[in-house]
Symmetry: C2
Subunit: 239 residues, 2 copies
DNA sequence: GATGGCCTGTGGTCAGTCCACTTATGATAG
DNA sequence: CTATCATAAGTGGACTGACCACAGGCCATC
């Protein structure tokens, strides 16, 4: 063969690019430069600027949407979502049904996150007033109209998450919280009496405010763990 | 007006359903019943069965794809993905660039997960031989050709994750690991000498095998934490 | 048995069209 | 002047029908 010549003519595989992937990449970059809530250009305009068909733009937008990066509102446009908002859970939930085992797993995952959050907050000497405010307000709401019962429990912990100042952890916390709400409602179980949670939250925050980090960590661990033990026996069978 | 009649004819808002959403929901259900690796019906066929256009099917498939539930191979078909495989990270990474702060956050998140994993394994008296096997093999590979250096570190922990038996935690661990690999390579830093990691892993596993859970937990916490302290000074500035 | 051409199935892409709804505009009635 | 209600423009949702490029199997040829 002419293997000597192959030194001169470099043979290189031709990479096959999907148009919609290219569009997706560009739109991802575009979204990154835009503030949350901003509106993207209309599909037709994007298609024209990118010199592709509307179909390709739409497919890319669909992908962006299910990645949780934009929200597409009919007849209105595509809007950039807050990265710290509700995350997409499809992958985490895939193939898992809400039974007693799932609630157990979810509790363990939640414990992992929340305990770390408390640990970080304790070690940072950060301003706790935001958490204090949330806790007070949740208490008031619970004593008044007991409307939004379930999520009250999580708001305090979300506040701590923000204080911890770790966006990665905050987002993972947000996933777990969302799963938590969905799972308990799907299982048809009440998450429990908020009054109890409130007292426990109060103790956790008190420990943090007193500067006793390890006590706060221990209390949070117990706080989350108490949920599993409170599961009805009937549900435990369905593993 | 004839407000008295409105008692008889119940007026109810017409819910606006997006076809592609409906298709997505059905395909999600379909995928759930199929084993990983199985192939979905061709787009044209799905479209015909669902009585919708191919466009709508394609948009739903795009969404499924970016949710990490299926893989679409050109000219070949859509295949069901393993839920415990590589998860989509788009949302977690959105808006965050890989700098020293990010590596710090990532380490904290990883610590949260790994410590919980060890805790669960310690409390379950499960069979540790799989972890032992991975550890030995990684050691051999490291001593031989030092090809796949970085990920060796994570394989042992992934094995522990599987042993822990919490799919939710396993998937979150998988996300963190994938982020870890990407981040270190993007930052252009070597994750470190595997020999050191191996020794630490050995100690963790030894503690588990000896039944000393709290010691194993402590060692894993230190193991992960050591990474942050090892960050080059130059990188620390770029917060 | 190996090679190379051919056919079919399949995903990728496009242009063009129509529809339903949101929003803003502006005319009209009070 | 205010309030109300048609009207028109803008926009996402959906469909049709077509064409392309490639993977994989089939088959005749060498």
């Amino acid at each position: 063969m002419s293997s000597d010549r192959s030194r001169v003519f470099e043979i290189v595989p031709i990479r096959q690019v999907d148009v919609y992937r290219e569009v997706l990449a560009q739109l991802e970059g575009l979204v990154r430069t835009m503030p949350a809530g901003a509106r993207l250009a209309p599909e037709r305009e994007l298609a024209e600027q990118l010199k592709v068909s509307r179909v390709s733009v739409r497919e890319a937008l669909r992908a962006l949407e299910s990645m949780g990066k934009v929200e597409i509102r009919r007849n209105t446009g595509a809007f950039v979502l807050d990265p710290d908002g509700a995350p997409p859970l499809g992958h985490l939930r895939q193939g898992l049904q809400v039974d007693a085992a799932f609630l157990q797993w979810l509790t363990e995952a939640r414990a992992a996150i929340e305990v770390k959050v408390v640990e970080l907050v304790a070690g940072s000497a950060a301003d706790l007033s935001a958490a204090r405010a949330v806790l007070e307000r949740a208490g008031d709401e619970a004593r008044g109209h007991l409307g939004s019962q379930g999520s009250l429990d999580l708001r305090f912990e979300a506040a701590l998450g923000r204080i911890a100042g770790n966006p990665l952890l905050t987002r993972m916390q947000s996933m777990v919280h969302q799963l938590w709400v969905e799972a308990w409602s799907e299982a048809g179980l009440a998450p429990g009496e908020y009054a109890t949670f409130h007292a426990e939250h109060e103790q956790i925050l008190a420990a943090l405010e007193a500067g006793d980090g390890s006590l706060a960590v221990r209390r949070m661990a117990e706080h989350v763990d108490r949920r599993v033990r409170a599961l009805p026996q009937a549900e435990r069978a369905g593993v």
